[in-house]
């Protein structure tokens, strides 16, 4: 990574207060214009001071740079890149200062963004990435840390922020939203959610892109496309039966694939089998999750795999998916076959709903709640297996 790339990453990171704290950008237009002028003036003064004092400090030999890191453009003795420090400072600090003027407002807004990002799902995307990267690379490095943080929060904020804004009409008809399983948001906050959802991932994505090769970049692009295409207006893959389940599965499997690709893993049959099993498990889970919403979705004129093929057949399809995942795992290398048994709790969870019909589709919500907890138990078991396999 070059100094220029690092500057771009941190200057976009410095924009976060403006995207995350509503008070930073609020106020009458006249005052906002004045703030921009004041920030620009501050920047100019700081740039002049930087050129003078940086040159003096560099002449005295306090700072050195690695070979090839700089563009070579200098203002007196100061490398032009050093002006990025004051640029980032002028972006970051006044944004924070203004954004924190009303602490309660800032706290409320951040709490809303956190709830939008579904904290209960954070680990579902961060863990597959971190496990895949760590088991391949066998060391903790900057990419592991940046990637894990990215897939923990910004990735989920992007996914669910876009989802909540574009889902608003159907969510109004759905009494289930507003708690653990989904946040219901006021339309007046839509703009703030969209801005935060889109800006927050940028510095992380840039860091990952600058650190990887073309294959890494394409993998990440596919992952991000699936996140956006799931619910954004015009694409709405979540309403296209079949595509909805596949896109949802991509949300959870693509962080793992990205972890493997970023760490340059070799693709054995075993790796492919585990990836496919995870994907089929994800499709089955999304399909089952859609069952409880069949009536609400139909009333709102929305489509899903469950509204098209019906509640009962969707439950059976999910059952087949879980069993297929188990069979795939049986073909993987030891201790992969042990993980095949972990599909059993999911299969058992479906049994009460094998005779469900569309009129009683809401009862599937009990199964969905159990599913969320089974994930934690099974996730723990998977972790034990991964540690065991890493031991060998």
């Amino acid at each position: 990574m070059t100094y220029g790339a690092l500057i771009l990453v941190f200057c976009t990171l410095a924009l976060l207060p403006w995207a995350l704290l509503p008070a930073a950008t609020s106020g009458p237009e006249r005052l906002r214009g004045r703030t921009a002028v004041v920030m620009l003036t501050t920047l100019i003064v700081l740039c002049v001071l930087t050129v003078v004092f940086d040159s003096l400090i560099i002449s005295a030999g306090f700072v050195e740079y690695g070979a090839g890191a700089l563009s070579g453009i200098r203002l007196w003795h100061a490398p032009v890149e050093d002006l990025s420090y004051v640029l980032a400072g002028v972006l970051l600090l006044p944004g924070l200062w203004r954004g924190l003027e009303d602490p309660r407002r800032a706290r409320d807004h951040l709490a809303m963004l956190v709830s939008t990002s579904r904290p209960v799902s954070w680990v579902n995307t961060a863990y597959p990435f971190a496990a895949a990267y760590l088991l391949t690379e066998h060391r903790v490095d900057d990419l592991l840390v940046v990637g894990t943080i990215f897939f923990l929060i910004p990735y989920n904020l992007l996914m669910y922020g876009i989802n909540d804004v574009f889902d608003h009409e159907s969510d109004l008809l759905n009494p289930r939203k507003g708690g653990l399983e989904g946040a219901l948001v006021d339309p007046s906050r839509h703009r703030g959610i969209l801005v935060a959802s889109v800006v927050c991932p940028v510095p992380f994505v840039l860091y990952l892109l600058f650190s990887g090769d073309v294959v890494d970049a394409v993998t990440l692009a596919v992952s991000l496309f699936a996140v956006v295409a799931y619910s954004v207006k015009g694409l709405r893959f979540k309403e296209k039966p079949g595509l909805d389940s596949a896109t949802s599965a991509t949300h959870f499997v693509s962080p793992m694939i990205y972890g493997l690709v970023l760490a340059d893993a070799t693709w054995t049959w075993s790796t492919v089998a585990v990836t496919l099993a995870f994907f089929v498990w994800g499709m089955a889970s999304q399909a089952f999750g859609a069952v409880q919403d069949v009536r609400a979705d139909r009333a709102a004129g929305l489509g899903s795999i469950a509204t098209v093929v019906g509640s009962r057949r969707t439950v059976w399809a999910a059952l087949c998916g879980y069993l297929a995942a188990g069979l795939l795992l049986l073909t993987s290398a030891w201790p992969g076959p042990l993980a095949a048994f972990l599909v059993l709790p999911y299969v058992v969870n479906l049994v009460p709903f094998l005779r469900i019909d569309d009129d009683s589709c809401e009862t599937a919500n009990r199964g969905w709640k159990r599913f969320l907890w089974i994930n934690y138990v099974v996730g723990f078991a998977v972790t034990m297996l991964l540690i065991y396999s890493a031991w060998d």
């Binding site: 990574m1 070059t2 100094y3 690092l6 990453v9 941190f10 990171l13 410095a14 106020g27 009458p28 006249r30 005052l31 004045r34 703030t35 002028v37 004041v38 920030m39 003036t41 501050t42 003064v45 700081l46 001071l49 005295a60 030999g61 306090f62 700072v63 050195e64 740079y65 690695g66 890191a69 420090y85 004051v86 980032a88 400072g89 002028v90 970051l92 600090l93 006044p94 924070l96 200062w97 203004r98 924190l100 003027e101 602490p103 900057d142």
Partner: protein
């Protein structure tokens, strides 16, 4: 180690004290909203230290050796002078920003004689 080793640190400390004096005299930053200023300062310094860490990991920043440095390192390639400098830089930025905001506001208030007062930035 002699007095010369603390020349850089001393110069930075002296500058930092200057920022505190300006702040106290004109109530710009900590002397205006201590909790908010503290939060801005902590996040700001942490942000720049993270930037330094990333630069060091990628081999972009190297710590030069000078007779005027104390030689005290907080982490590999991270001299204590850097932390004091970053604190000073954040303080200077915010003193400038809040000070210039107030000047701009006064000028706007003079331009509209009915004395409409906008919120201080």
């Amino acid at each position: 180690m002699n007095l010369l080793n603390f020349l850089h640190l001393g110069a930075l400390g002296f500058s930092l004290v200057g920022m505190v004096v300006l702040d106290a005299r004109f109530r710009l930053f900590f002397f205006r909203a201590p909790a908010r200023a503290g939060a801005v300062m902590v996040v700001g310094v942490a942000f720049f230290l993270l930037w330094d860490a990333a630069g060091i990991v990628h081999g972009i920043f190297l710590h030069g050796v000078s007779d005027m440095d104390s030689g005290l390192l907080l982490a590999p390639e991270l001299p204590v002078e850097e932390v004091v400098f970053l604190t000073f830089l954040c303080y200077l930025t915010m003193n400038l920003y809040t000070g210039l905001s107030r000047l701009a506001q006064r000028r706007a208030a003079r331009a509209t004689p009915d004395g409409h007062r906008g919120t201080d930035a």
